[in-house]
Symmetry: C2
Protein backbone atom coordinates (compact mmCIF):
# COMPACT_ATOMS: atom_id res chain seq x y z
CA UNK A 1 0.00 0.00 0.00
CA UNK A 2 3.10 2.29 -0.10
CA UNK A 3 2.34 3.26 3.48
CA UNK A 4 4.65 5.66 5.28
CA UNK A 5 4.14 5.91 9.02
CA UNK A 6 4.09 3.68 12.07
CA UNK A 7 3.36 0.10 11.06
CA UNK A 8 1.64 -2.58 13.14
CA UNK A 9 -1.96 -3.74 12.87
CA UNK A 10 -2.09 -6.74 15.23
CA UNK A 11 -2.31 -5.60 18.82
CA UNK A 12 -3.94 -5.82 22.20
CA UNK A 13 -3.95 -2.81 24.52
CA UNK A 14 -5.54 -0.94 27.39
CA UNK A 15 -7.87 2.00 26.86
CA UNK A 16 -6.15 4.94 28.57
CA UNK A 17 -8.17 7.81 27.20
CA UNK A 18 -11.70 7.88 25.84
CA UNK A 19 -14.66 10.27 25.61
CA UNK A 20 -16.74 7.35 26.92
CA UNK A 21 -15.53 6.73 30.49
CA UNK A 22 -16.91 3.18 30.60
CA UNK A 23 -14.12 2.13 28.22
CA UNK A 24 -11.26 3.35 30.43
CA UNK A 25 -9.04 0.53 31.68
CA UNK A 26 -10.60 -2.05 29.38
CA UNK A 27 -8.33 -4.53 27.65
CA UNK A 28 -9.23 -4.35 23.97
CA UNK A 29 -8.39 -5.48 20.49
CA UNK A 30 -9.40 -3.35 17.53
CA UNK A 31 -10.61 -3.75 13.97
CA UNK A 32 -8.13 -2.11 11.69
CA UNK A 33 -10.38 -0.55 9.04
CA UNK A 34 -11.56 2.93 10.04
CA UNK A 35 -14.55 3.55 7.81
CA UNK A 36 -16.51 6.71 7.05
CA UNK A 37 -19.75 5.33 8.46
CA UNK A 38 -22.02 6.86 5.86
CA UNK A 39 -21.23 5.52 2.39
CA UNK A 40 -22.84 2.67 0.48
CA UNK A 41 -20.37 0.14 1.88
CA UNK A 42 -20.73 1.37 5.45
CA UNK A 43 -24.51 1.29 5.16
CA UNK A 44 -24.45 -2.27 3.84
CA UNK A 45 -22.30 -4.08 6.41
CA UNK A 46 -19.19 -3.79 4.26
CA UNK A 47 -17.37 -1.08 6.19
CA UNK A 48 -14.11 -2.98 5.72
CA UNK A 49 -14.41 -2.01 2.05
CA UNK A 50 -15.30 1.67 2.59
CA UNK A 51 -13.40 3.55 -0.13
CA UNK A 52 -12.69 6.40 2.33
CA UNK A 53 -11.26 4.11 4.98
CA UNK A 54 -7.91 4.41 6.64
CA UNK A 55 -6.30 1.21 7.89
CA UNK A 56 -4.30 0.94 11.09
CA UNK A 57 -0.62 0.68 10.28
CA UNK A 58 -1.36 0.06 6.61
CA UNK A 59 -3.08 3.06 5.05
CA UNK A 60 -3.03 6.69 6.20
CA UNK A 61 -3.20 5.79 9.88
CA UNK A 62 -0.34 5.19 12.28
CA UNK A 63 -0.32 1.69 13.72
CA UNK A 64 0.45 -0.34 16.79
CA UNK A 65 4.26 -0.33 17.02
CA UNK A 66 4.14 2.69 19.32
CA UNK A 67 3.38 3.59 22.92
CA UNK A 68 -0.13 4.66 21.97
CA UNK A 69 -2.56 4.32 19.12
CA UNK A 70 -6.05 5.63 18.49
CA UNK A 71 -9.13 3.92 17.11
CA UNK A 72 -12.84 4.76 17.09
CA UNK A 73 -14.80 3.07 19.88
CA UNK A 74 -16.82 1.24 17.24
CA UNK A 75 -13.68 -0.62 16.19
CA UNK A 76 -12.96 -1.97 19.68
CA UNK A 77 -13.76 -5.35 21.18
CA UNK A 78 -13.24 -6.08 24.86
CA UNK A 79 -11.05 -9.13 25.40
CA UNK A 80 -12.69 -11.80 27.59
CA UNK A 81 -10.97 -12.24 30.96
CA UNK A 82 -10.02 -15.81 30.14
CA UNK A 83 -7.86 -14.77 27.20
CA UNK A 84 -4.24 -13.91 28.04
CA UNK A 85 -2.67 -11.07 26.05
CA UNK A 86 -0.27 -13.46 24.33
CA UNK A 87 -3.35 -15.03 22.79
CA UNK A 88 -5.60 -12.03 22.22
CA UNK A 89 -2.85 -10.32 20.23
CA UNK A 90 -3.67 -12.88 17.52
CA UNK A 91 -7.29 -11.75 17.21
CA UNK A 92 -6.80 -9.82 13.97
CA UNK A 93 -5.10 -12.59 11.94
CA UNK A 94 -7.36 -15.20 13.53
CA UNK A 95 -10.36 -13.17 12.38
CA UNK A 96 -8.86 -13.15 8.88
CA UNK A 97 -8.69 -16.96 9.10
CA UNK A 98 -12.34 -17.06 10.21
CA UNK A 99 -13.34 -14.92 7.22
CA UNK A 100 -13.13 -18.04 5.03
CA UNK A 101 -16.12 -19.50 6.88
CA UNK A 102 -18.09 -16.30 6.32
CA UNK A 103 -17.61 -16.78 2.59
CA UNK A 104 -18.07 -20.49 2.01
CA UNK A 105 -19.61 -23.36 3.89
CA UNK A 106 -17.21 -26.16 4.74
CA UNK A 107 -18.81 -29.46 5.59
CA UNK A 108 -17.34 -32.21 7.71
CA UNK A 109 -16.35 -34.49 4.83
CA UNK A 110 -15.17 -31.80 2.44
CA UNK A 111 -11.70 -32.40 1.05
CA UNK A 112 -9.84 -29.21 1.96
CA UNK A 113 -6.29 -28.41 0.92
CA UNK A 114 -4.48 -25.55 2.67
CA UNK A 115 -1.34 -24.43 0.88
CA UNK A 116 1.16 -22.62 3.10
CA UNK A 117 2.81 -23.04 6.49
CA UNK A 118 3.30 -19.44 7.62
CA UNK A 119 1.62 -17.64 10.49
CA UNK A 120 -1.72 -17.08 8.77
CA UNK A 121 -1.78 -20.64 7.41
CA UNK A 122 -1.16 -21.98 10.93
CA UNK A 123 -4.19 -20.08 12.20
CA UNK A 124 -6.34 -21.12 9.24
CA UNK A 125 -5.44 -24.75 9.89
CA UNK A 126 -6.44 -24.46 13.55
CA UNK A 127 -9.77 -22.92 12.59
CA UNK A 128 -10.60 -25.36 9.81
CA UNK A 129 -9.77 -28.49 11.77
CA UNK A 130 -13.03 -27.87 13.64
CA UNK A 131 -15.01 -27.89 10.38
CA UNK A 132 -13.66 -30.73 8.28
CA UNK A 133 -12.14 -34.08 9.12
CA UNK A 134 -10.53 -34.06 5.71
CA UNK A 135 -7.95 -31.28 5.90
CA UNK A 136 -4.52 -31.52 4.28
CA UNK A 137 -1.88 -28.85 4.72
CA UNK A 138 0.90 -28.54 2.19
CA UNK A 139 3.99 -26.89 3.71
CA UNK A 140 7.61 -26.20 2.90
CA UNK A 141 9.51 -25.85 6.19
CA UNK A 142 9.91 -28.99 8.35
CA UNK A 143 9.54 -27.11 11.65
CA UNK A 144 6.37 -25.41 10.48
CA UNK A 145 4.93 -28.66 9.13
CA UNK A 146 5.69 -30.17 12.54
CA UNK A 147 3.76 -27.39 14.24
CA UNK A 148 0.60 -28.35 12.33
CA UNK A 149 1.10 -31.99 13.26
CA UNK A 150 1.47 -31.08 16.93
CA UNK A 151 -2.10 -29.81 16.67
CA UNK A 152 -3.34 -32.98 15.06
CA UNK A 153 -3.47 -31.52 11.56
CA UNK A 154 -2.41 -33.63 8.59
CA UNK A 155 0.47 -31.63 7.13
CA UNK A 156 2.88 -32.76 4.43
CA UNK A 157 5.79 -31.36 2.47
CA UNK A 158 5.72 -30.90 -1.30
CA UNK A 159 7.90 -34.01 -1.63
CA UNK A 160 5.51 -36.15 0.41
CA UNK A 161 2.33 -34.74 -1.16
CA UNK A 162 0.36 -37.31 -3.13
CA UNK A 163 -2.69 -35.18 -3.97
CA UNK A 164 -4.06 -35.66 -7.47
CA UNK A 165 -5.00 -32.83 -9.76
CA UNK A 166 -8.57 -31.63 -9.34
CA UNK A 167 -9.21 -33.64 -6.19
CA UNK A 168 -10.02 -31.00 -3.55
CA UNK A 169 -13.41 -29.34 -3.18
CA UNK A 170 -11.82 -26.42 -1.34
CA UNK A 171 -8.28 -25.14 -1.79
CA UNK A 172 -6.98 -22.28 0.34
CA UNK A 173 -3.92 -20.50 -1.00
CA UNK A 174 -1.99 -18.80 1.80
CA UNK A 175 1.56 -18.68 0.51
CA UNK A 176 1.39 -15.51 -1.54
CA UNK A 177 3.78 -16.92 -4.09
CA UNK A 178 3.05 -17.97 -7.66
CA UNK A 179 4.05 -21.57 -7.05
CA UNK A 180 1.24 -21.74 -4.50
CA UNK A 181 -1.16 -20.09 -6.94
CA UNK A 182 -0.37 -22.56 -9.74
CA UNK A 183 -0.64 -25.52 -7.39
CA UNK A 184 -3.97 -24.25 -6.05
CA UNK A 185 -5.40 -23.97 -9.56
CA UNK A 186 -4.21 -27.48 -10.31
CA UNK A 187 -5.63 -29.05 -7.14
CA UNK A 188 -9.14 -27.58 -7.01
CA UNK A 189 -11.79 -29.85 -8.46
CA UNK A 190 -14.57 -28.93 -10.90
CA UNK A 191 -17.32 -26.97 -9.09
CA UNK A 192 -14.82 -26.39 -6.29
CA UNK A 193 -13.70 -23.28 -4.42
CA UNK A 194 -10.32 -21.62 -4.44
CA UNK A 195 -9.93 -19.18 -1.55
CA UNK A 196 -7.11 -16.65 -1.90
CA UNK A 197 -5.81 -15.38 1.43
CA UNK A 198 -2.59 -13.84 0.16
CA UNK A 199 -1.55 -11.06 -2.13
CA UNK A 200 1.17 -11.55 -4.72
CA UNK A 201 4.13 -9.56 -5.95
CA UNK A 202 4.42 -8.83 -9.68
CA UNK A 203 2.21 -10.55 -12.19
CA UNK A 204 1.87 -13.96 -13.73
CA UNK A 205 0.78 -15.53 -16.99
CA UNK A 206 -2.74 -16.76 -16.57
CA UNK A 207 -5.63 -18.08 -18.61
CA UNK A 208 -8.96 -18.35 -16.76
CA UNK A 209 -10.35 -20.91 -19.23
CA UNK A 210 -9.98 -23.76 -16.74
CA UNK A 211 -12.03 -21.78 -14.21
CA UNK A 212 -14.80 -21.46 -16.81
CA UNK A 213 -14.73 -25.03 -18.10
CA UNK A 214 -14.62 -26.47 -14.59
CA UNK A 215 -16.97 -23.86 -13.09
CA UNK A 216 -14.57 -23.06 -10.28
CA UNK A 217 -15.32 -20.27 -7.84
CA UNK A 218 -12.35 -18.15 -6.85
CA UNK A 219 -12.85 -16.10 -3.69
CA UNK A 220 -10.66 -13.27 -2.46
CA UNK A 221 -10.58 -13.21 1.33
CA UNK A 222 -9.21 -10.55 3.66
CA UNK A 223 -10.29 -9.15 7.05
CA UNK A 224 -12.67 -11.17 9.17
CA UNK A 225 -15.02 -11.17 12.17
CA UNK A 226 -13.38 -10.23 15.49
CA UNK A 227 -16.20 -11.63 17.66
CA UNK A 228 -15.77 -15.08 16.14
CA UNK A 229 -12.00 -14.97 16.68
CA UNK A 230 -12.42 -13.91 20.31
CA UNK A 231 -14.95 -16.70 20.82
CA UNK A 232 -12.49 -19.32 19.53
CA UNK A 233 -9.81 -17.95 21.83
CA UNK A 234 -12.14 -17.81 24.82
CA UNK A 235 -13.40 -21.36 24.30
CA UNK A 236 -9.84 -22.57 23.81
CA UNK A 237 -10.70 -23.98 20.38
CA UNK A 238 -7.74 -22.13 18.97
CA UNK A 239 -4.61 -21.57 21.03
CA UNK A 240 -2.08 -19.52 19.09
CA UNK A 241 0.49 -19.17 21.93
CA UNK A 242 2.99 -21.59 20.45
CA UNK A 243 3.28 -19.40 17.36
CA UNK A 244 5.21 -16.85 19.42
CA UNK A 245 8.91 -17.04 18.70
CA UNK A 246 9.99 -14.31 21.11
CA UNK A 247 8.72 -11.23 22.91
CA UNK A 248 10.78 -8.02 22.97
CA UNK A 249 10.23 -4.75 24.81
CA UNK A 250 9.20 -1.99 22.42
CA UNK A 251 12.55 -0.20 22.73
CA UNK A 252 14.33 -3.34 21.51
CA UNK A 253 12.43 -3.21 18.24
CA UNK A 254 15.63 -3.54 16.18
CA UNK A 255 16.40 -6.90 17.77
CA UNK A 256 12.79 -7.90 17.27
CA UNK A 257 12.96 -7.14 13.54
CA UNK A 258 16.21 -9.06 13.22
CA UNK A 259 14.67 -12.04 14.98
CA UNK A 260 11.55 -11.85 12.81
CA UNK A 261 13.66 -12.05 9.67
CA UNK A 262 15.22 -15.39 10.56
CA UNK A 263 13.87 -18.35 8.62
CA UNK A 264 12.58 -20.31 11.63
CA UNK A 265 10.77 -17.30 13.11
CA UNK A 266 7.00 -17.26 13.41
CA UNK A 267 5.47 -14.42 15.43
CA UNK A 268 7.70 -11.90 17.17
CA UNK A 269 5.89 -9.61 19.61
CA UNK A 270 6.66 -6.15 20.92
CA UNK A 271 5.54 -5.37 24.48
CA UNK A 272 5.18 -1.95 26.06
Amino acid sequence: MNFQGIIGHEFVGIVEKSPAPEWLGKIVVGEINVSCGSCFYCNNSMGNHCPQRTVLGIQEKDGAMAEYLTLPIGNLHVVPEEVDWTKSVFTEPLAAACEILEQIQIFTNDEVLLIGDGKLAQLIGRVLQHHTTNLTVLGKHPSKIELFRKHGINAVSLGEFKGESASFKVVIEATGNWQGWDLALDMVRPKGFLVLKSTYVGSHNFNPASLVINEITLIGSRCGPFPEALKLLKEGKVDPSDLITEIFPLNEWKNAFNRAQQADSMKVLLEH
Copy 2:
Protein backbone atom coordinates in the same frame (compact mmCIF):
# COMPACT_ATOMS: atom_id res chain seq x y z
CA MET B 1 -10.68 -29.10 -27.07
CA ASN B 2 -8.75 -30.19 -30.21
CA PHE B 3 -11.84 -32.07 -31.29
CA GLN B 4 -11.82 -33.95 -34.58
CA GLY B 5 -15.20 -35.11 -35.80
CA ILE B 6 -18.63 -33.72 -36.60
CA ILE B 7 -19.17 -30.42 -34.79
CA GLY B 8 -22.46 -28.92 -33.64
CA HIS B 9 -23.89 -28.97 -30.11
CA GLU B 10 -26.95 -26.73 -30.42
CA PHE B 11 -29.82 -28.60 -32.00
CA VAL B 12 -33.44 -29.64 -31.97
CA GLY B 13 -34.51 -32.90 -33.56
CA ILE B 14 -37.00 -35.73 -33.79
CA VAL B 15 -36.42 -39.11 -32.13
CA GLU B 16 -36.37 -41.61 -34.99
CA LYS B 17 -34.96 -44.63 -33.20
CA SER B 18 -35.00 -45.55 -29.53
CA PRO B 19 -35.10 -48.66 -27.33
CA ALA B 20 -37.92 -46.87 -25.46
CA PRO B 21 -40.82 -46.66 -27.93
CA GLU B 22 -42.56 -43.84 -26.02
CA TRP B 23 -39.81 -41.49 -27.24
CA LEU B 24 -40.33 -42.17 -30.95
CA GLY B 25 -41.53 -39.12 -32.85
CA LYS B 26 -40.92 -36.74 -29.96
CA ILE B 27 -39.36 -33.38 -30.71
CA VAL B 28 -36.41 -33.06 -28.39
CA VAL B 29 -33.41 -31.01 -27.39
CA GLY B 30 -30.50 -32.67 -25.66
CA GLU B 31 -27.93 -31.94 -23.00
CA ILE B 32 -24.51 -32.19 -24.52
CA ASN B 33 -22.47 -33.81 -21.73
CA VAL B 34 -22.66 -37.60 -21.84
CA SER B 35 -21.57 -38.67 -18.38
CA CYS B 36 -20.59 -42.06 -16.98
CA GLY B 37 -23.42 -42.12 -14.45
CA SER B 38 -21.43 -43.70 -11.64
CA CYS B 39 -18.54 -41.48 -10.59
CA PHE B 40 -18.35 -38.95 -7.74
CA TYR B 41 -19.53 -36.13 -10.02
CA CYS B 42 -22.40 -38.12 -11.50
CA ASN B 43 -23.49 -39.19 -8.02
CA ASN B 44 -23.46 -35.60 -6.77
CA SER B 45 -25.54 -33.78 -9.40
CA MET B 46 -22.45 -32.62 -11.25
CA GLY B 47 -22.63 -34.94 -14.24
CA ASN B 48 -21.67 -32.05 -16.52
CA HIS B 49 -18.25 -32.28 -14.88
CA CYS B 50 -17.85 -36.06 -15.10
CA PRO B 51 -14.18 -36.63 -15.98
CA GLN B 52 -15.17 -39.55 -18.23
CA ARG B 53 -17.73 -37.53 -20.16
CA THR B 54 -17.89 -37.09 -23.87
CA VAL B 55 -19.43 -33.88 -25.18
CA LEU B 56 -21.63 -33.66 -28.26
CA GLY B 57 -19.68 -32.07 -31.09
CA ILE B 58 -16.92 -30.97 -28.72
CA GLN B 59 -15.19 -33.95 -27.17
CA GLU B 60 -15.03 -37.52 -28.44
CA LYS B 61 -18.61 -37.53 -29.70
CA ASP B 62 -19.89 -36.57 -33.12
CA GLY B 63 -22.26 -33.63 -33.05
CA ALA B 64 -25.35 -32.16 -34.62
CA MET B 65 -24.21 -31.02 -38.07
CA ALA B 66 -25.31 -34.31 -39.58
CA GLU B 67 -28.44 -36.14 -40.65
CA TYR B 68 -28.53 -38.07 -37.36
CA LEU B 69 -26.98 -37.91 -33.94
CA THR B 70 -27.26 -40.12 -30.87
CA LEU B 71 -27.69 -39.23 -27.21
CA PRO B 72 -28.72 -41.19 -24.11
CA ILE B 73 -32.41 -40.82 -23.24
CA GLY B 74 -31.39 -39.23 -19.97
CA ASN B 75 -29.96 -36.29 -21.88
CA LEU B 76 -33.19 -35.55 -23.75
CA HIS B 77 -35.90 -32.99 -23.01
CA VAL B 78 -39.17 -32.91 -24.88
CA VAL B 79 -39.85 -29.51 -26.41
CA PRO B 80 -43.20 -28.03 -25.37
CA GLU B 81 -45.70 -27.79 -28.23
CA GLU B 82 -45.79 -24.00 -27.97
CA VAL B 83 -42.12 -23.66 -28.84
CA ASP B 84 -41.28 -23.48 -32.54
CA TRP B 85 -38.06 -25.18 -33.66
CA THR B 86 -36.48 -21.84 -34.55
CA LYS B 87 -36.72 -21.06 -30.84
CA SER B 88 -36.04 -24.43 -29.24
CA VAL B 89 -32.78 -24.73 -31.14
CA PHE B 90 -31.52 -22.04 -28.73
CA THR B 91 -32.17 -24.18 -25.66
CA GLU B 92 -28.53 -25.14 -25.09
CA PRO B 93 -27.05 -21.62 -25.14
CA LEU B 94 -30.07 -20.25 -23.31
CA ALA B 95 -29.47 -22.84 -20.59
CA ALA B 96 -25.86 -21.65 -20.40
CA ALA B 97 -27.21 -18.13 -19.87
CA CYS B 98 -29.51 -19.43 -17.11
CA GLU B 99 -26.56 -21.10 -15.38
CA ILE B 100 -25.55 -17.69 -13.99
CA LEU B 101 -28.70 -17.67 -11.85
CA GLU B 102 -27.90 -21.15 -10.55
CA GLN B 103 -24.61 -19.78 -9.26
CA ILE B 104 -25.45 -16.35 -7.83
CA GLN B 105 -28.57 -14.59 -6.71
CA ILE B 106 -29.37 -11.42 -8.61
CA PHE B 107 -31.74 -9.05 -6.88
CA THR B 108 -33.95 -6.49 -8.52
CA ASN B 109 -31.79 -3.46 -7.68
CA ASP B 110 -28.40 -5.07 -8.25
CA GLU B 111 -26.14 -3.12 -10.58
CA VAL B 112 -25.27 -5.67 -13.25
CA LEU B 113 -22.84 -5.07 -16.11
CA LEU B 114 -22.83 -7.49 -19.03
CA ILE B 115 -19.78 -7.15 -21.26
CA GLY B 116 -20.26 -8.49 -24.77
CA ASP B 117 -22.78 -8.28 -27.59
CA GLY B 118 -22.44 -11.69 -29.23
CA LYS B 119 -24.97 -14.49 -29.37
CA LEU B 120 -24.49 -15.71 -25.81
CA ALA B 121 -24.46 -12.16 -24.44
CA GLN B 122 -27.76 -11.47 -26.24
CA LEU B 123 -29.34 -14.46 -24.50
CA ILE B 124 -27.84 -13.55 -21.13
CA GLY B 125 -29.26 -10.04 -21.44
CA ARG B 126 -32.72 -11.39 -22.22
CA VAL B 127 -32.58 -13.68 -19.18
CA LEU B 128 -31.20 -11.12 -16.75
CA GLN B 129 -33.63 -8.37 -17.69
CA HIS B 130 -36.23 -10.36 -15.75
CA HIS B 131 -34.08 -10.29 -12.60
CA THR B 132 -32.66 -6.79 -12.29
CA THR B 133 -33.93 -3.39 -13.31
CA ASN B 134 -30.36 -2.18 -13.26
CA LEU B 135 -28.72 -3.98 -16.19
CA THR B 136 -26.17 -2.32 -18.44
CA VAL B 137 -24.75 -4.04 -21.50
CA LEU B 138 -21.45 -2.92 -22.93
CA GLY B 139 -21.16 -3.75 -26.64
CA LYS B 140 -18.96 -3.06 -29.61
CA HIS B 141 -21.05 -3.48 -32.77
CA PRO B 142 -23.81 -0.89 -33.42
CA SER B 143 -26.25 -3.43 -34.91
CA LYS B 144 -25.80 -5.77 -31.94
CA ILE B 145 -26.17 -2.96 -29.43
CA GLU B 146 -29.37 -2.03 -31.26
CA LEU B 147 -30.65 -5.58 -30.85
CA PHE B 148 -30.40 -5.30 -27.06
CA ARG B 149 -32.21 -1.96 -27.15
CA LYS B 150 -35.01 -3.45 -29.24
CA HIS B 151 -35.65 -5.72 -26.26
CA GLY B 152 -35.69 -2.83 -23.80
CA ILE B 153 -32.20 -3.51 -22.51
CA ASN B 154 -29.88 -0.60 -21.72
CA ALA B 155 -26.93 -1.23 -24.04
CA VAL B 156 -24.07 1.17 -24.76
CA SER B 157 -20.86 1.21 -26.76
CA LEU B 158 -17.44 1.54 -25.19
CA GLY B 159 -17.35 5.19 -26.29
CA GLU B 160 -20.69 5.96 -24.63
CA PHE B 161 -19.98 3.98 -21.46
CA LYS B 162 -19.78 6.15 -18.34
CA GLY B 163 -19.44 3.38 -15.74
CA GLU B 164 -17.00 4.11 -12.94
CA SER B 165 -14.40 1.65 -11.71
CA ALA B 166 -15.66 -0.69 -9.01
CA SER B 167 -19.29 0.32 -9.39
CA PHE B 168 -21.06 -2.93 -10.36
CA LYS B 169 -22.05 -5.63 -7.89
CA VAL B 170 -22.18 -8.20 -10.67
CA VAL B 171 -20.12 -8.16 -13.85
CA ILE B 172 -20.61 -10.83 -16.51
CA GLU B 173 -17.78 -11.23 -18.99
CA ALA B 174 -19.02 -12.76 -22.23
CA THR B 175 -16.58 -11.46 -24.83
CA GLY B 176 -13.83 -14.02 -24.44
CA ASN B 177 -11.18 -11.40 -25.16
CA TRP B 178 -8.64 -9.93 -22.78
CA GLN B 179 -9.97 -6.42 -23.16
CA GLY B 180 -13.26 -7.68 -21.74
CA TRP B 181 -11.45 -9.49 -18.93
CA ASP B 182 -9.49 -6.37 -17.91
CA LEU B 183 -12.60 -4.22 -18.07
CA ALA B 184 -14.56 -6.71 -15.98
CA LEU B 185 -11.89 -6.71 -13.27
CA ASP B 186 -11.94 -2.93 -13.26
CA MET B 187 -15.72 -2.58 -13.07
CA VAL B 188 -16.60 -5.08 -10.34
CA ARG B 189 -16.99 -3.52 -6.92
CA PRO B 190 -15.54 -4.77 -3.62
CA LYS B 191 -17.49 -7.83 -2.39
CA GLY B 192 -18.88 -8.15 -5.89
CA PHE B 193 -19.14 -11.06 -8.33
CA LEU B 194 -17.40 -11.52 -11.65
CA VAL B 195 -19.00 -14.24 -13.75
CA LEU B 196 -16.89 -15.61 -16.58
CA LYS B 197 -18.94 -17.06 -19.44
CA SER B 198 -16.19 -17.19 -22.04
CA THR B 199 -12.91 -18.93 -22.53
CA TYR B 200 -9.82 -17.07 -23.70
CA VAL B 201 -7.06 -17.70 -26.18
CA GLY B 202 -3.46 -17.52 -24.97
CA SER B 203 -2.56 -16.13 -21.60
CA HIS B 204 -2.42 -12.76 -19.93
CA ASN B 205 -0.46 -10.97 -17.25
CA PHE B 206 -2.49 -11.05 -14.08
CA ASN B 207 -2.14 -10.34 -10.38
CA PRO B 208 -5.02 -11.54 -8.21
CA ALA B 209 -4.16 -9.11 -5.38
CA SER B 210 -7.13 -6.87 -6.19
CA LEU B 211 -9.44 -9.88 -5.90
CA VAL B 212 -8.05 -10.53 -2.41
CA ILE B 213 -8.03 -6.94 -1.17
CA ASN B 214 -11.53 -6.30 -2.50
CA GLU B 215 -12.84 -9.78 -1.61
CA ILE B 216 -14.21 -10.32 -5.09
CA THR B 217 -15.74 -13.65 -6.07
CA LEU B 218 -14.89 -14.88 -9.55
CA ILE B 219 -17.18 -17.57 -10.90
CA GLY B 220 -16.57 -19.75 -13.92
CA SER B 221 -19.85 -20.57 -15.64
CA ARG B 222 -20.56 -23.08 -18.39
CA CYS B 223 -23.48 -25.41 -19.19
CA GLY B 224 -26.83 -24.76 -17.59
CA PRO B 225 -30.30 -26.12 -16.82
CA PHE B 226 -32.33 -27.17 -19.88
CA PRO B 227 -35.69 -27.22 -18.03
CA GLU B 228 -35.31 -23.57 -17.06
CA ALA B 229 -34.41 -22.59 -20.61
CA LEU B 230 -37.41 -24.47 -22.04
CA LYS B 231 -39.64 -22.80 -19.46
CA LEU B 232 -38.48 -19.33 -20.52
CA LEU B 233 -39.12 -20.22 -24.17
CA LYS B 234 -42.53 -21.72 -23.42
CA GLU B 235 -43.64 -18.72 -21.37
CA GLY B 236 -42.34 -16.36 -24.03
CA LYS B 237 -40.09 -14.62 -21.51
CA VAL B 238 -37.20 -15.09 -23.88
CA ASP B 239 -37.72 -15.03 -27.62
CA PRO B 240 -34.47 -15.71 -29.45
CA SER B 241 -35.94 -15.81 -32.98
CA ASP B 242 -34.51 -12.47 -34.03
CA LEU B 243 -30.99 -13.76 -33.44
CA ILE B 244 -31.31 -15.94 -36.53
CA THR B 245 -29.41 -14.42 -39.44
CA GLU B 246 -30.27 -17.09 -41.97
CA ILE B 247 -31.32 -20.73 -42.27
CA PHE B 248 -29.61 -23.06 -44.77
CA PRO B 249 -30.37 -26.64 -45.76
CA LEU B 250 -27.73 -29.02 -44.40
CA ASN B 251 -26.27 -29.67 -47.84
CA GLU B 252 -25.57 -25.94 -48.23
CA TRP B 253 -23.31 -26.00 -45.20
CA LYS B 254 -20.50 -24.24 -47.06
CA ASN B 255 -22.69 -21.22 -47.72
CA ALA B 256 -23.85 -21.34 -44.13
CA PHE B 257 -20.27 -21.20 -42.85
CA ASN B 258 -19.46 -18.31 -45.15
CA ARG B 259 -22.52 -16.42 -43.94
CA ALA B 260 -21.65 -17.13 -40.31
CA GLN B 261 -18.21 -15.60 -40.77
CA GLN B 262 -19.53 -12.22 -41.84
CA ALA B 263 -19.23 -9.52 -39.19
CA ASP B 264 -22.97 -8.75 -38.95
CA SER B 265 -23.94 -12.41 -38.62
CA MET B 266 -25.53 -13.72 -35.44
CA LYS B 267 -26.94 -17.25 -35.57
CA VAL B 268 -26.86 -19.25 -38.78
CA LEU B 269 -28.91 -22.45 -38.71
CA LEU B 270 -28.69 -25.68 -40.68
CA GLU B 271 -31.95 -27.49 -41.36
CA HIS B 272 -32.36 -31.08 -42.43
